[in-house]
């Protein structure tokens, strides 16, 4: 597939989908149910606004969403209390499928949402977006609703106009440009057309999500792209420009951890696809350094990219869904 053609035909701007009445009409014609999942960990400052805006614009005024759920990893602040006070369904990830061993990570919450929520489509939105707007949701849902072949829609972002120090655009972020895009260009050139492969906002059809295994940590977005591409090809993807996303900047040292986790996921995939056969056992220890005056000190951190199996293999899920 020609990358430029794919971009032309599958890349949208959210403004193309502003007619929410029309979008809801199409959703209802197809008898679709749509769930919004917001994975959280200590997000009391931003969660209230997200719930209020989505509830008012996308449930009360235009019934695009059928449920808004917050799935929390065990916040120490009042994230769930605030979300609940504004009418969201709130869950502690560890309370969903509680007999499973407890794992903490965003991917865990996303995976458990497949079990807990009822939508034929699930849209995932991070909770730390300062400039949240309904476009974040409808911009991702519309390509799935209007095009039956589309199964997974990724967000990408333009640069913020002007914001204070410490805030940066996530479009073309450092990990994407230094790690992911070079890797995709080397091994899966077509996937390099995904402008922002690591964005935390995406929407997907249940039929796809339930067949994916989920890394619980940093690698979840990369794993999704690789596995969906392998199964369905580029035809399954679309991407929507949501203009701007303002969130807190991350320090380079944190990005190192992210890159380490993603690289584990990527190399494991390469091995399982049979594209790299001689990969040795991978270390799970990341070594970084800090300096005190003239003394350099190594910091070791264990980062294990555990994975949850495809939800469709979980007996409780099959039972709940009536073996659909």
């Amino acid at each position: 597939m020609n990358i430029d053609n794919w971009i032309r035909e599958n890349t949208f701007h959210h403004s193309a989908f502003e007619d929410l009445g029309k979008l809801v009409e199409e959703k209802e014609k197809q008898n679709l149910k749509i769930s919004l999942c917001i994975p959280t960990l200590n997000e009391e400052k931003t969660i209230g606004k997200e719930i209020v805006l989505f509830n008012s614009e996308l449930m009360t005024r235009f019934p695009l969403l059928d449920e808004i759920a917050v799935i929390d990893s065990g916040s120490k602040d009042k994230t769930l209390e605030v979300a609940g006070s504004f009418g969201a369904d709130t869950y502690l990830a560890s309370d969903i499928l509680p007999h499973l061993d407890n794992k903490k990570g965003k991917g865990e919450n996303l995976w458990k949402a497949i079990y807990q929520l009822d939508g034929d489509i699930i849209v995932y939105i991070d909770a730390d977006i300062k400039n949240i707007h309904p476009r974040f949701v409808y911009g991702l849902l519309a390509p799935l609703i209007y095009n039956k072949k589309t199964k997974y829609v990724k967000a990408f972002y333009d640069r913020p106009l002007a914001f204070s120090e410490g805030i940066r655009p996530s479009g073309g972020g450092r990990v994407t440009e230094i790690l992911i895009r070079p890797l995709f260009s080397l091994f899966f050139p077509e996937l390099s057309a995904i402008i922002q492969p690591l964005s935390g906002e995406y929407a997907a059809k249940r039929e796809v999500l339930e067949k994916l295994s989920f890394p619980i940590g940093y690698g979840v977005e990369t794993a999704h792209l690789l596995d969906i591409y392998r199964e369905y090809g580029m035809e399954a993807f679309a991407q929507t420009d949501l203009d701007q996303r303002v969130h807190r900047n991350q320090e380079t040292i944190s990005l190192g951890k992210m890159a380490f986790g993603i690289l584990q996921t990527f190399l494991h995939r390469m091995k399982s696809y049979g594209m790299m056969t001689d990969i040795p056992e991978l270390s799970t220890i990341l070594r970084q350094f800090q300096a005190h005056d003239d003394v350099f000190e190594s910091i070791e951190q264990e980062i294990i990219e555990e994975e949850r199996p495809p939800m469709i293999t979980v007996p409780e899920y099959l039972k709940k869904r009536g073996n659909k």
Partner: protein, 389 residues
């Protein structure tokens, strides 16, 4: 004799309770309007959003005008009267300010939320609120976001509309985000001015009178402070802002001072302005500096009487709701209504926790009271209870 207001007053507690159901729509409008930067003269993006909202609620005549006001009309059953509800769209915050708003269970915080994103959000949400409450008025409601209100805007938007519209406005209500209890039925006279001093480069600093433009403007302020201002008519000179200088090692050569003369008497405003002009020129000549005094805006004093039925009924509504009225003269849109001879009030919607630079915070709970107060007053106006006989 039966008290005609009693039905309205008795229905207030239930209305207040029912209004809790519209919280999310109101807060969403507050966030979405408030996060669009809207400095004076650059209100168009905020106006577009407002008019779009009016369109979505099927208002008629949704439009803008050459000044950039945003308008929509919610038609009444008979349309015999036209009530104008206005909130100014502009804010004091520059376009590049981070306009992010945050919502907590009890409050909404961000630049401009109190002045006046909340007032505008109420205007934007009113068609939805009235529909949800099942209230249909006989009068047409003309809903307006006014442009160019603050500072140098000098109420240009509302004045333009009132000067040029064919609609016969019977009553006006100006809606401000804060504070709940605000009740303005009159406006004081006002002249808003800017004084600019330039001290020439190469000035002989040993000369009498000044060592920098800062000292010059300081002398100017001291001389103004010597002017006796009367208690009757109540008169005040407010120094609003001052700027000068570029750092430690350079002598400042320019200084700018903004001030406002406020008085219940139009003549007193004029007299003080003359005096201050003379002082400015005298100091400039003594210090060999150049001065320009610019009058940015002028408002006439006036308003409706405290005993006008619009005021008395507004006070009765507040009393029933346990809201303590804060009777203050207004500098806002009310002045334009007064000039146009239209009975009008300014009222506030909520209370605020803090108003600092870029961090206004309005409380959520009092908003229900504020809106119930507004709607009750609207019903009273609609039924003719606020007309002067």
């Amino acid at each position: 004799m039966k008290d005609k207001m009693s039905e309205i007053l008795n229905s207030i507690p239930k209305m207040e309770e029912n209004l809790k159901a519209i919280r999310d729509v109101l807060l969403t409008n507050l966030v979405m309007l408030g996060e669009i930067p809207s400095p004076t003269f650059h209100e168009q993006p905020r106006m577009n959003f407002l008019v779009n909202r009016f369109n979505q609620y099927n208002l008629i005549n949704c439009s803008t005008d050459e000044i950039g006001n945003g308008l929509g009309i919610l038609p009444g059953k008979t349309g015999e009267k036209n009530i104008l509800l206005v909130a100014h769209m502009d804010s004091e915050y520059a376009e590049k300010t981070d306009h992010t708003i945050s919502i907590q269970p009890n409050s909404v915080t961000g630049p401009g939320v109190a002045d006046n994103a909340l007032g505008l959000a109420v205007i934007a949400s009113l068609p939805y609120i009235l529909e949800k409450l099942g209230i249909e008025l006989n009068s047409n409601l003309v809903l307006m976001g006014s442009a160019r209100s603050l500072g140098a805007g000098n109420l240009e938007g509302i004045r333009f509309f009132l000067d040029n519209t064919d609609i016969n406005i019977s009553t006006g209500l100006s809606v401000e985000g804060v504070r709940l209890g605000r009740l303005s039925n009159s406006a004081v006279g006002m002249a808003r001015c800017e004084v600019h001093y330039w001290v020439p480069e190469g000035y002989d600093w040993t000369q009498f009178g000044a060592v920098s433009s800062i000292v010059t403007v300081n002398e100017f302020i001291n001389r103004i402070l010597e002017i006796p201002t009367p208690n009757r008519p109540s008169t005040n000179i407010v120094f609003s802002s001052i700027s000068s200088g570029r750092g430690f090692s350079k002598v400042s050569t320019e200084a700018e001072l903004k001030f406002e003369i406020q008085s219940e008497s139009e003549e007193m405003v004029e007299q003080l302005l003359q005096q201050i002009n003379n002082i400015a020129i005298e100091i400039a000549s003594k210090t060999a500096s150049r001065v320009v005094v610019k009058e940015l805006s002028r408002r006439k004093p006036g308003g409706i009487d405290f005993s006008h039925p619009l005021v008395t009924n507004a006070r009765r509504i507040m009393e029933v709701m346990d809201i303590k009225p804060r009777i203050t003269p207004s500098m806002s849109e009310l002045s334009a209504f007064i000039d146009a001879g239209i009975p009008a009030l300014t009222i506030g919607i909520s209370s605020f926790e803090t108003i600092e630079k870029s961090a206004e915070s309005v409380k959520i709970d009092p908003m229900y009271k504020g809106i119930a107060q507004l709607i009750s007053l609207l019903i009273a106006i609609d039924k003719g209870y606020c007309d002067e006989y």
